[in-house]
């Protein structure tokens, strides 16, 4: 199903490292937007999961970041860029179960090492790029059909 919109709808949210209290706000807003556009609920759920995991990683590991979304008739593209420590070994970070989350974050139930695999699983296209000492960028595309 293609959406009945002309052109593209885009926007962005600011994310602040360590801000667990507002975690999920960007994903919730995006979910609402997709619901109002009439996107199928299964697609919305995938987008929400992928976005929330990306949002959490910025909050856990980075100082700050930005989540940008771009919605067209066919798909939603989500780009999450952060100013953080970066990832030294991306293929290791992508492995399920690998995590460097500190103990206090694990006590909250994060740090299973499943966030990046969840993002990949829920996207039709997934890419990650990182520079140690500068930051990380995750890009995900989810098709509407």
């Amino acid at each position: 199903m293609a959406l009945n919109i002309s052109g593209a709808i885009e926007g962005s949210f600011q994310l602040i490292g360590g801000n667990f209290a507002t975690a999920g706000e960007a994903s919730t807003q995006l979910k609402l937007k997709l619901t109002n556009l009439g996107v199928h609920e299964d697609i919305i759920r995938r987008a929400a999961i992928a976005t929330f995991e990306a949002e959490m990683n910025v909050i856990i590991y980075a100082a700050a970041g930005r989540l940008h979304y771009y919605i067209t008739q066919q798909s939603i593209k989500i780009r999450v860029e952060d100013m953080g420590p970066g990832i030294e070994d991306i293929s290791l970070a992508m492995q399920e179960g690998y995590s460097t989350a500190p103990e206090w974050v694990r006590e909250m139930g994060w740090g299973a090492g499943m966030g990046l695999p969840n993002m990949k699983k829920n996207s039709d296209k997934f890419s990650i790029d990182s520079v140690v000492g500068e930051g990380t960028t995750v890009e995900m595309v989810i098709n509407f059909s």
Binding site: G24, R45, I49, F52, M108, G109, M114, N118
Partner: protein, 110 residues
């Protein structure tokens, strides 16, 4: 099975979103790892956990879960309850441990 039936049979304490008790539960998932729930819980599952902090509400909402049962008599902070009410997520508490809660629900859903 309706969530209200579960509340009655397990004597759960309903903390938030009383209107949500009419929802039909499809299954249950037991985990204290939030990304594991994001990966493996199903829509309209009831989630059994000992986690009590704010992020559980977002997880339940993102996944479209039927509600959250917090086990082991853990206190839940007011801000978490407020958020759950806003997001229309039912939070239920019990002094029973996860094993007992899961076992009973398993029998009921079988």
């Amino acid at each position: 099975m309706k969530l209200s039936e579960l509340v009655e049979k397990l004597a759960l304490d309903v903390k938030t979103f009383k209107d949500g008790l009419q929802i039909e539960i499809k299954g249950a998932y037991v985990s204290d790892l939030l990304s594991d729930v994001m990966a493996n819980a199903g829509k309209c599952d009831i989630w059994i956990t000992l986690q009590t902090h704010l992020n559980i509400v977002a997880v339940a909402s993102m996944k479209g879960l039927a509600g959250i049962i917090i086990v082991g008599n853990r206190p839940v902070q007011e801000e978490v309850l407020k958020k759950a009410e806003e997001e229309k997520i039912a939070i239920l508490t019990t002094p029973k441990p996860a094993f007992e809660v899961a076992g009973k629900i398993y029998q009921m859903l079988k």
